[in-house]
């Protein structure tokens, strides 16, 4: 689905990523783990086009997308959520999801200002679909609330609903459980599995090991900008190099 080959990223003199190569398999949930500063978020930023890579290629669905801007990648079905949820705070919850449906609709400047009949139909369709998505993540009652006033947990759900609105082929989630309590985390795990069951491939960066071990089919371990190991959760748990990276040398 997504294949990264030889990705490197430098900020001035700092090497954040150094020759990362791996594949995210279709239909599975891939977890990317590693200690702080391992380069996980940077990797997401490179994969989604927020930073250009210093070297290497990002291939998505057999197509080299290394040069594509974030919006182009989103249109291909490569969608992400953010570590510190990035909602449109001044808009309502429903409107946030409707922005997510931007790529699923096409009315331009003229159609919108003249309220062409097809634009009105599209608008109704967007609104209904957005409500369905809020239903899917379980917050339909918050539709008309301003997004900036949501609690962190609800905000996370909204962000997932908004991302799902793009009908992603691959959903990248940056620390989805960060800031959630244990109950919310468990619900999140179920939600991510339901998303996978819809046929969406999921890759997530996460620190919460219980969640990762519970839901992931495949793990990739990063450390200090390089790839340390990959394999099933069981293999990773027993990998001595991973244990050293996490716990430090004796």
């Amino acid at each position: 689905m997504l294949s990264l080959s030889g990705i490197g990223k430098r900020f001035g003199g700092l090497t954040a990523l150094d020759g990362i190569s791996f594949e995210v398999g279709k239909g599975a949930i891939t977890g990317i783990i590693g200690p702080n500063g391992a380069g996980k978020t940077t990797l997401f930023n490179v994969a989604t086009g927020i930073y250009p890579p210093s070297c290497g290629a990002v291939v998505f669905g057999g197509k080299d997308i290394s040069k594509l801007p974030p919006e182009g990648r989103a249109r291909l079905g490569l969608v992400r959520t953010f570590q510190n949820i990035e909602l449109f705070g001044k808009m309502t919850v429903l409107e946030n999801v409707m922005v997510g449906l931007h790529t699923q609709s096409g009315s331009g400047l003229f159609a919108c200002s003249f309220r062409m009949p097809w634009q009105m139909r599209e608008e109704r369709r967007i609104r209904e679909r957005a409500l369905e998505l809020l239903e899917f993540v379980g917050i339909p009652e918050l539709a008309d609330v301003q997004a900036g006033t949501l609690s962190f947990g609800k905000g996370r759900l909204l962000e997932i609903a908004r991302a799902m609105a793009l009908e992603p082929k691959l959903l990248l989630m940056d620390e989805p459980a960060a800031g959630l309590n244990s109950g919310e985390t468990a619900d999140l795990g179920d939600l991510i599995k339901r998303i996978r069951d819809l046929g969406v491939t999921v890759a997530l960066v996460e620190h919460d090991m219980d969640l990762v071990m519970d839901i992931c089919d495949h793990l990739v371990v990063l450390n200090l900008g390089t790839m340390l190991a990959q394999g099933t959760p069981r293999e990773i748990q027993d990998n001595p190099a991973v244990i050293t990276a996490y716990l430090g040398e004796e």
Binding site: F11, G12, N45, I50, Y51, P52
Partner: protein
């Protein structure tokens, strides 16, 4: 030969106005570097320098040197008030709000000056007469020498201040990383105030030394400010040599363009350069581009 002489002359007067642009550019950069603000009222500090000197000289009957000191001091106080009244009340202001506020302050200052001293254009007498000096075939005015001298002094002064004093180093620290500067015990708020003080002083000084050459009025600040900004952009918004070079290049191009092509479009030259640089090399003429971390 005739043309060569003419060109030399244009270059000399271009370098003189260019020095002024350089000083104004520096005053922009000083505030920008410690606050991230582009102060749209910067030109008004320049205007105040000239107008207040003339006022002190003609109305208060002060000697020239004292008049200049008074003008720069008063402008500096206005700089302090500016920071206190318009910048400080807004915590975590967006760039948009800061742009609007500094524009508001700019027209407010301009309006008050117009109210107090009218709309007339006034001239300041040259500091040491107007007898031209001939050096190697080119003619200089004594005021040109004053401009070059003061500019060099200010640049050297800024350099010493920013590199060799605690306050200067603290201000540079703020420009690199405000949070970190705060953590090591630098009062960021005070540094911001300092930057307005220095910037107002440098700006008004520029306004004082140019006034004998170009005359001054309540509305000269807009153009001078914009050209100073252009110089700063050419220099990549640094408070160093880049901005000085930017100012000198701009002044020379403008003077040559006005003299050889068309004087009506003189002011447009600066803006064409400004737009070109913003479009093509927004990091300045002399810096290498860098990836910005989001």
């Amino acid at each position: 030969m005739e043309l060569l002489n003419q060109v030399t002359q244009f270059v000399i007067s271009g370098l003189a106005t260019g020095s002024i642009y350089a000083l104004i550019g520096l005053s922009f950069a000083i505030i920008f570097n410690s606050t991230g603000i582009i102060n749209f009222a910067q030109g008004e500090f320049v205007m105040l320098g000239g107008v207040l000197t003339i006022f002190s000289l003609n109305v208060l009957q002060l000697p020239l040197a004292a008049a200049i000191v008074v003008a720069v001091a008063v402008t500096t106080v206005i700089g302090i008030l500016f920071e206190r009244l318009a910048i400080r009340p807004l915590k975590n202001a967006t760039p948009l709000a800061l742009i609007i506020i500094t524009i508001g302050m700019s027209i407010l200052i301009r309006g008050v000056v117009m109210l107090l001293w009218g709309k007339d254009t006034q001239a300041l007498p040259a500091f040491s007469g107007t007898d031209p000096i001939t050096v190697a075939g080119a003619t200089l005015l004594p005021q040109h020498l004053w401009i070059f001298g003061v500019t060099v002094m200010v640049i050297v002064g800024c350099r010493l201040f920013f590199n060799h004093t605690i306050s200067g180093k603290a201000m540079r620290a703020c420009s690199f990383n405000r949070r970190a500067a705060n953590l090591v015990g630098i009062s960021v708020g005070r540094m911001v105030l300092f930057s307005f003080v220095i910037s107002a002083a440098v700006g008004s000084l520029a306004g004082v030394i140019i006034a004998p050459l170009t005359m001054t009025a309540y509305d000269v600040g807009v153009m001078l400010g914009l050209k100073g900004f252009c110089a700063a952009i050419m220099g990549g918004m640094g408070s160093g040599l880049g901005t000085v070079l930017g100012g000198l290049i701009l002044g020379t191009l403008e003077s040559l363009g006005a003299g050889l092509i068309s004087s009506g479009y003189k002011d447009a030259i600066a803006f064409f350069i400004l737009l070109l640089i913003l479009f093509i090399r927004p990091q300045g003429l002399f810096k290498k581009g860098e990836t910005e971390r989001v």
